[in-house]
Each structure stands twice: as structure tokens, then as C-alpha cells.
């Protein structure tokens, strides 16, 4: 949870088994690229024949997918279920889902189109809530570097921006792109900056995404026995480096893209986020909030 609070993302490599990945690919009609004539026809066929349902926004996740379908199995995976319950609760609802398909260069050449990566963006629209949604990404096939897996920027999730207004940042120091084995699951905070890369391989790249909303406060959903206790204050600047790394080191991690001044606000916002996740309204890390809350007038 501290890792999610700090970076805004979690990954579970090769979590989904080979058989379920195969069932998902069979279900969407994954085929040899030579048998795909157009992007439009490929999507049309998937929509016509796959078991991926049309889910009205606001449907409980538990009622969303047909029993024993590949997606039902994925969401019943105990790690997936545990992560979702920890982040958005067991009564979470579906906002939307989509099967993202990134086509190889061949298709752009055929259509005489410029093959460009997707610009950096934050999904949906300006979202100043303390509540957060999560986006679960499922990669049914291997994603190699040349396939242009989802680009993301760890630690950006608490910056409040307006969707595509961050498109002007072509490259951001510390940017990462997903390279993974089949069956990998990623979970993003809904505010995480991201974008799709260019697929320079000869194979189709798939990413199935579901956005989930909580229906309850996201306080200690990950600690049902409510045992979490914040760590006591530690020395600042004149520090003891011999101590083992703690949760506080994860929460106070800096990211390469952060400005020198705003980096401190980013840390303050992580502490505020951790207060919400733990229910400890006065907890602090490294005195960032205690110092400025010491208002005596």
C-alpha cells in the first residue's frame, strides 16, 4: 500500500495462468497478423463474437462478467481480488472497460497514416477528489520493448491536471514503459500520467483495461483488523543511515521528474494520502505536515 501511495502503481508479473490467457485470446479471436485486413474490421469482429460484455457504468464488479469467462477468472484470482479489495473495496463498481489494441507499422503504412505514440495524459477529466479510482490493466500476451507497452510516470498520480493538457511533455525523466510476460496485471491510481507507445514489432499488442470506483471510504480496506500504527518520528537531515528501510522511506521516495521546490509538496501530498488510507488524521512522515500545522495564531 505504501508503494501504491508513493508511486501510484503496482505490478504483478505473470499472475494470470497460461490457460486463462489462451482462453482470453481465443475469445477475442486473436489471430495471425496476416489475417487482419483492417483495424476497424478487427474491432468489429471482437465486439461481435467475444464474451466481453457491454457493462452499464456503475455495475457492481461482482455482477459484471459472465461466469467462467476468462475475465471472470481473472477477477477471481486471489491476488487480483485482494488488491482490488485493498484499494477500492469489495463493493467496487465498474466505471468502464476497453480492449486497447496497438497495431504494428504495417497497418499504418497500408492506411497511409503517420504512426505516432499516444501523448501523455491523465484519464477522464480534472479530478480533485480525495477518493480515487483504480485502473486495472491485463496483458494477455508478452509485451516486448519494441511493442511500445504502456508508458507511465511513477509518482505523478497526485498531481491534478486536465487530461490531455500534459501532452506537451514529450519525454519525462524517469519515464517507464511496460515490458512484461503474458498474464501480467498492472494497477494504476486513476491520476497516474500515462500513454501508449508505438508498436514497432510485427505483432498486435493487447491491453484490457477496467476502471473501478469505490463505494465506501478507502480507509484501511487493506487492513481489516485495523492494526496499522504509524511509525514514530525519526531524525531529519542529520540522520542515521544504518537503520533498515521502513515504510516511511517508501512514502518519502523522490522521483527524477520532480522539481526541487514542488518535490516537497509532492511529499506532503503523499503524507495526506497516507492519512486517508490509514485513518490516522494526524500522522506524519518526516515532520512535513506537523511543521506547517504548528499554527499558534
Amino acid at each position: 500500500m505504501a508503494e501504491f501511495a508513493s508511486s501510484g502503481c503496482l505490478f504483478f508479473d505473470e499472475l494470470i495462468d497460461e490457460q486463462t490467457n489462451k482462453e482470453f485470446l481465443d475469445d477475442i479471436g486473436h489471430t495471425n497478423i496476416d489475417e487482419v485486413d483492417s483495424v476497424q474490421d478487427f474491432y468489429k469482429n471482437i465486439k461481435a463474437t467475444s464474451s466481453i460484455p457491454r457493462i452499464p457504468a456503475g455495475t457492481p464488479l461482482k455482477e459484471a462478467f459472465p461466469k467462467n469467462s476468462p475475465l471472470d477468472k481473472i477477477f477471481k484470482n486471489e491476488v487480483v481480488e485482494g488488491a482490488i479489495t485493498s484499494l477500492v473495496g469489495s463493493k467496487t463498481i465498474v466505471d468502464h472497460q476497453f480492449l486497447h489494441i496497438t497495431f504494428p507499422t504495417k497497418y499504418f503504412n497500408q492506411a497511409n497514416q503517420r504512426q505516432m505514440s499516444q501523448a501523455n495524459h491523465q484519464d477522464s477529466t480534472i479530478d480533485p477528489r480525495s477518493t480515487f479510482d483504480v485502473q486495472l490493466f491485463y496483458f494477455p500476451t508478452e509485451v516486448t520493448k519494441e511493442m511500445g507497452g504502456t508508458r507511465y510516470h511513477p509518482g505523478t498520480h497526485l498531481r491534478i491536471v486536465n487530461e490531455n493538457a500534459i501532452a506537451k511533455y514529450q519525454n519525462i525523466l524517469g519515464q517507464k514503459s511496460i515490458v512484461c510476460k503474458p498474464g501480467t496485471i498492472g494497477i494504476f491510481h486513476s491520476g497516474l500520467w500515462h500513454g501508449a507507445g508505438v508498436n514497432f514489432s510485427e505483432n498486435i499488442r493487447y491491453m484490457f483495461k477496467v476502471r473501478l470506483q469505490p463505494t465506501e471510504k478507502q480507509e484501511l480496506l487493506w487492513d481489516p483488523e485495523k492494526k496499522y500504527q504509524p511509525l514514530p518520528n525519526r531524525a531529519l537531515f542529520w540522520t542515521d543511515e544504518t537503520k533498515d528501510q521502513t515504510i516511511n522511506d517508501i512514502l518519502m521516495r523522490s522521483y527524477p521528474w520532480q522539481e526541487a521546490d514542488t518535490n516537497r509538496l509532492d511529499k506532503i501530498n503523499v503524507v495526506k494520502f497516507w492519512r486517508l488510507l490509514t485513518g490516522h488524521k494526524k500522522m506524519d512522515v518526516d515532520y512535513w505536515l506537523t511543521r506547517i500545522e504548528n499554527e499558534l495564531y
Partner: protein
């Protein structure tokens, strides 16, 4: 001979050209190179000053705007934005 503009946008760690580059974008009006999002993980220059030393002309820099009262801790866009240009002559 025609002239074309190349634009380099650098976002720096703090509002001085001596600061390190943390984000960057390049737009090539000569059409020789197509830049796009995520095309390189390494900044074109270590600092803004290094861009000047390589002949880029600064034509816009972000202003220091005080935070709105009550919103002092809200974080948003990258703050320290610098626009540079180079003009290139050629038959385009």
C-alpha cells in the same frame, strides 16, 4: 533559401537555466526528424545553459506565479518551462 524553425522546450528542476532538465519536447519544422512522445529516455542537454551553449535561442520562460491562497499545496503541471528555437536555412 527558405527558413524553418526548430523548437526545443525544456522543463527544469528549478527556475534557473543552470538547473537540470527533467522533461523535454522537440518539434522540427524542417521536417527532417519526427519527434514524438516517449521517443527518448535521455534529455538532449543536461541543463538549460547547455542548450544555450549549443546555439539554441531562448524566447520564452515561465513566470513565477504565487500559489493561490488555500491552494498552496496543490500540485499540477511542471513549473519551470523554457522555450528555445533555432532557425535553419535550406530548400525544404
Amino acid at each position: 533559401m527558405a527558413k524553418r524553425q526548430k523548437v526545443l522546450v525544456l522543463y527544469l528542476k528549478f527556475p534557473s537555466l543552470e538547473a537540470e532538465v527533467i522533461s523535454w519536447a522537440t518539434f522540427d519544422g524542417t521536417g527532417k526528424k519526427l519527434h514524438m512522445t516517449g521517443d527518448t529516455d535521455t534529455p538532449p542537454y543536461p541543463t538549460g545553459l547547455d542548450a544555450l551553449l549549443d546555439g539554441w535561442r531562448l524566447f520564452q520562460a515561465s513566470q513565477a506565479i504565487p500559489e493561490h491562497p488555500g491552494e498552496e499545496f496543490r500540485t499540477s503541471y511542471l513549473k519551470h518551462e523554457f522555450f528555445f528555437e533555432k532557425l535553419e536555412e535550406g530548400d525544404f
